[in-house]
Amino acid sequence: MTDNQIEQEESLFDAPPIGEQERMIEAVLFASAEPVTIKELESRMPHGCDAAEAMVHLRKRYEGRGVAIVRVGDAYAIRTAPDLGFLMQKETVETRKLSRAAIETLAIIAYHQPVTRAEIEEIRGVSVSRGTVDQLLEMEWIRFGRRRMTPGRPVTFVVTQEFLDHFGLENARDLPGLKELRSAGLLESRPPPGAMLSLTGEDDEENEDARGQSEMFEE
């Protein structure tokens, strides 16, 4: 058996050529309105495909075109180029006007996630109305995160993939000005002076939590 023969035999069981894989992920991304993960892509493609590799090629192919391949969290989606928005009056969806409270709450969740309601209130200096949280939950821009391991085990809020998708963010680390805010110490949860006196037990855990938050944003 010559080398050539061996190669041919092997290729019978090989994944399709990368160009073909590129076509496949192109078709799937075009067909889906929601971002699709590499894992999901591969589950739909023939066995042995490398969707991540094909994605590199496809993203390059669409550079500078009318639509672009964007990354949203660990998934990919095709979106129209932002500079062509003016062509889409017909497709424009009137988003519900968000109140200032809702916008601020959203920003606080995005920059401080995972964050409890008490922490949001501490930052805004006022109580957070349930309607505000409900609205953001309903829009699927925020969701419940893990419970905080502090007394009362309060729920936390985090932003969703829909949020990232809506604002064209690859991940929460890309939030505008995040780095500056962090280096200015404005994302730390700093207990008010005197608070330690009454809450000594909690303090360690709080600190640990605070570390967890900043870790989330580190590479």
Binding site: F30, A31, S32, A33, E34, R44, A77, I78, R79, T80, A81, P82, G85, M88, E91, T92, V93, T95, R100, A101, I103, E104, L106, A107, I108, A110, Y111, I123, R124, G125, V126, D165, H166, F167, G168, L169, L175, P176, G177, L181, A184, L186, R190, P192, P193, G194, L197
Partner: protein, 268 residues
Amino acid sequence: MPMAEEIFEEGRPIGVEERLANEALIVDVDGYEGPLDLLLMLSRTQKVDLRKISVLALAEQYLKFIDGAKELRIELAADYLVMAAWLAFLKSRLLLPPDPSEEGPSGEELAAHLAFQLERLQAMRDAAAKLMARDQMGRDFFKRGVPEDVQRVRKVTYTASLLDLMQAYARTKTRDDFRPFVLDRDAIMTLEQALERMRGLIGYAGDWTSLDSYLPEGWETDPAKRRSATAANFSATLELTKLGRIEIRQGDVFAPIHIRKKDQKDDG
């Protein structure tokens, strides 16, 4: 926003017009989202970096503002008053020389924390504004207009084990073993048998004939046999009617059923 200081200038008499304007402003103050928000607004009068803000001056501004509002008999929410009390306390701490015997955080620590809170709130507002200024989906960029849903194709495969198979066979056989009366089936005419028989017979049924007359020989007397054959014949008749081979009629409820061959030319 220098209004607050101007408006509540102590001891200055205020005219009606001015008073109305003030009230309008105070009502507007209602729109503030709590004391921190109000403090942030007042802090802008200092025109300095929030990090270098004079908390003492800010506390004084706030207290003056609250006094002014009280003078105008504006109902203030409790948290505004709580903040006023706290700021009055803070002010005294900041003004008096530190008393080493006193417990709790120093005035400077408290002031620093307030400054931090204000700076953080301002930072979050700026961040929110930047976020909302981003390109947004459905406004600046768009998703696919006609997504093709993934069709879920459900494929059902059936399975059975050899044991299932043997048990199934054993079951049918056990039935035989325990049921000599399977021989009873002598008294049962199946639909297939009746259908087969009727097909052959209807060729002769040119005119209306009672269904009873089609009972096979030897099935008319034994009641069990007769019942079975009648039922099977009737079912077969219905089937043949459906096929358009015969016509069927019954004069009245429980009256004898008659059938006759259907003319071939009537067939569609």
